[in-house]
Symmetry: C2
Subunit: 365 residues, 2 copies
Amino acid sequence: MVASPTGSWKDGPVPPTSPIGLHRVIDPPGVLPQAARVLDPDPTVGADEVRVRVEALNLDAASYRQLEQSHRGDGAAVRAAVLDIVAERGKMQNPVTGSGGMLVGVVDEVGPESPLGLHPGDRIASLVSLSLTPLRIDDGLARWDGRSERVPCDGTAILFGRSIAAVLPDDLPAELAMSVFDVCGAPALVARVVADRIGRGLPTVVAVIGGAGKSGSLALAAARATGATRTIGVVPIEAEAVSLRGADLADAVTLADARDPVALADAVASVGGPADITVVCVDVPGCEHGAILATAEGGVVIFFSMATSFTAAALGAEGLAADVTMLVGNGYVPGHAAYALDVLRGSPGARGLFEARLAREETSP
Amino acid sequence: MVASPTGSWKDGPVPPTSPIGLHRVIDPPGVLPQAARVLDPDPTVGADEVRVRVEALNLDAASYRQLEQSHRGDGAAVRAAVLDIVAERGKMQNPVTGSGGMLVGVVDEVGPESPLGLHPGDRIASLVSLSLTPLRIDDGLARWDGRSERVPCDGTAILFGRSIAAVLPDDLPAELAMSVFDVCGAPALVARVVADRIGRGLPTVVAVIGGAGKSGSLALAAARATGATRTIGVVPIEAEAVSLRGADLADAVTLADARDPVALADAVASVGGPADITVVCVDVPGCEHGAILATAEGGVVIFFSMATSFTAAALGAEGLAADVTMLVGNGYVPGHAAYALDVLRGSPGARGLFEARLAREETSP
């Protein structure tokens, strides 16, 4: 890791850049870009940076909700607020929620030392948050009415040496690709864990809690594609069980409230469990004990849910004398975006679930 | 896992017991013992249970603090409150804090199917919380003044099939053994991860954040004992650096505020990092980004700190495009208590730190 530069970005010969963008941090100095109040959005790329001409921002749902509520739905006021934030901060990070979102754009210039493998003209979605991305808006957001999370815009953004950008595929609609990118860490990590256990001769019954959702369905598809001996999808309601069975993504589908540990463990056991790998893809709190209880001795629990309580997981396993490996589901595995698209391409069932979800989102208010 | 029994515990022939004590749950039915309001503390052991004649309870610090404050330091009132809780709930779980503590006692009777490997006469410390342990107090806590966390008492407790009890060693003072038991998950899991990576030909530079503390020092000792190529201890203040160097537990000791990600990563890099395995043993919030940044690509971060934020870890790794495996530090690894005692026995440096800490605790108010 390159040490923080000693001078300002604009002094003399170009100073070394930091792969994590420390050189872009204006205030306060020395913190990570995500924690900074102000970043430098200068479009001149450093040696390992990439400049993207932005086509649209997708504001994080929490951020948009906060802006909409605080401006009482006044689109022009919301637009002005976003312009102010970006002008002041050099990035789109909601000062109240701390959240950002992501962007879609076209690669404009690639620094000679950029390790990202991008080329000018690549149409990409950023997979690191806007909350750490230097951004400059050039069109006053003239094409945005301020009434939705999708912000058409013209501007420039900077990707650091360490960054994650996914090239939008030619063969899939952009909205579909992006909804996959949203959850691509899950199938990638599940595949990695399944493959690792197969390589070591360990059993691979995989249970996905929340199997009908975006990350859950791709996790099931990835598990099967990687050779898991049995896949089990757990869902909370009959309608999801019907969807999941229709998608033919799991060897078995069972119903359970994931917040009821005994019920969850019993449900998984009833269809071939306990699981050797339990994947938690539901976003409700309180699923830790159940996930642990549903997992066989020596097994793995992968928590993807952002509602996961670290202490509930740690103390839960201890209190149940459970010898399980518990992973914090990392949203990043190298190649995860491309891999997730391949999983989707190879799984008509998963693709169907994604397309149905997108269709519902378009029609609901 | 045995299904929940259909009848009451006292009806007819002894019903199957649940290895996780579901048959002891009176109210509300169907929840885990830790979540129950009331457990059945009947001293009659089920086939896979163990009865312990309790010598002392150690109330969890948060629980004792709550009781002391709410009864304004009146020892008799605190004693009465604890008696009431145990009489009503059949366990010592503070209804306000939800916490328990642990117990020390002598094994009295072992059910024929108990898998715990205990024998009548074994003097043990329970490593599962009092908050899930059926307990009956027989002496009205007559020997407790209500003014400290240590509660001498006479009573019975039940250990389930799945439980964790550590036999107190003959060769070490009980207080020392118990202070090791308190943190024995850390050295055991670190040893497991180091050994696994060595077996796979992966590098093993180990950095322990909070290396001078109880879990940190044992983690360092275990890493070295298992064959880590280099051990690095990170501490926040010079006094701890002096202690840690004096204990000769790490190849290098460096100072850093673990809440400053850049400083932490730089400090680890300055003494042989980045680390292949980073172990977080400090209990202050905000150490996630630093731990991730201090870890090499393909490395492992093990979070033991109960202050760990799941989302900070997950989003932090994603935002830094960090390909690291992040483990929720499980307090339980089979054999961890005995292993931790062995690590202590083999490490005069670690033992010295533990003994110094105990001496300080005895002398401070």
